[in-house]
Amino acid sequence: MKCDKCGKPASVIVTEIQAGKKVERHFCEACAAQNEGFPVKSHTPINELLTNFVLAHSGAQKEGASACENCGITWSDFRTQGLLGCEQDYTFFEKELTPLLQRAHEGATHHVGKTPARRGSSAGPARRMPDLAKLRKELTRAVEAEDYERAAKLRDSIRQAEAGE
């Protein structure tokens, strides 16, 4: 079989349905890439194909490639080394970090406990944080007791408290 464009041996077959009729076209790799936008590389190993497919569909490839503006590490750098590069990575990679934190910390995603005194006045966050922890505990209890009306109120209070942080 020869390429429809240049006459070289064809290795790409394009099947299209045009006006209800099946049309088959033949291209060599170069013409296929040039005219049809197919990748030139024809012998992609199956594992690479699968990896690319999974990454493309999970959106991870894009995330793995973007680097923190402050320290320059990417998500894949972190996955290789196991260490983050700077404090801002927690905000920059928040979406990717959340499931990982849940696995490492028995499902938790929010800090409960000591807060630096300088974060606000003495009546500020240091005191507010335990309140937030209390609210979350109450929320869990309300859900367990299937008291959804109360749970909704607690959820709103938590959101409000978090927004104020």
């Binding site: 938790a108 995603t109 800090h111 406990g113």
Partner: protein, 362 residues
Amino acid sequence: MSDGPVNMKLSDLTNQAGEWLRGSGPMSEIVISSRIRLARNVSGFPFLSRCSAHQRQALETRIRDTILSCRLASRTLYVDLEAAPEIDRLLLVERHLISKPHAMASGARGVAIDEQETASVMVNEEDHLRIQVLRSGLQLEEAWEQINPIDDLLESKLDFAFHPRFGYLTACPTNVGTGIRVSVMLHLPALKIVGEIEKVFRAAKDMRLAVRGLYGEGTEATGDFYQISNQATLGKSEEDIISEFKHNVIPKIIDYEHHARKALAKDKPVLLDDKVCRALGTLRTARLMTSEDALSLLSHLRMGVHMGRVRDVDINKVNDLFLNTQPAHLQKMQGKRLDGDARNAARADYIRHRLGGDAKGE
């Protein structure tokens, strides 16, 4: 005396018992020590893996100056670990004042140690600061009461990286939140002898705790020493983590070990005495002794003394032997580098001498 903190020398440490094996404190027949450490980073600097040599040096200088000006203790020893000889760094590992990776790393780093050896601050370890309090026996609440003000004091001078949702930010996300690691070192020889040590692993697993060896992460449980520590640091307050350890985890394991000791004494007294006497006999007569041998023999002897099976050996002497027969301590005491058999011979000599065994060369 000057106004500022008086700097100590490393040799001042080797003249004292060392907190972690002082052998005092509640439940000390089973609980060797209680440790709490807090991981903290200075805001505005990258975490250490992304620090330039210049930033690393600037951090080390700033943290060291802060620690020394804070008067964490009336006398503070600061060791510049980049400049310190390997033997000194290993000595600090053996006294549980720094981690092995901190001893073996490179670049600007150090450790501040208080006079009593209960508090230390590692500078530029995995995080910019690793504050630690170590106390003999089961003293977790006391350790928290000691470490919390130290953290407050440092925090008043240094801006720690903190996020409202994630808490204290650490280089490894497994430490984020409170940044707290609570560890209790336990001596569990009877559970090992009766073949029930698996109970400890199961209990720890159920409570999602880690079990490690004598020197922490990645080390084996030699000498029947097991270190139990929390893994989750996010979503639980410091007090809750400590209280769980004090009221649920540790009493359960202490109970297992007590039970195993009682069962041995009641059902297999000959086996028990054989283990203990064999250990004492070997320790009093051996001419070559490896670290591993010393640890496992001393472990049986320690149990024997605590259970009243050996009357003529003082427990402080046993604890002293655990500490001073470690490689760096032994070499420091001898004042020279010793390799292989020379070290094993020196260790055997020291033990025989301390336990009133055969004189050298007989």
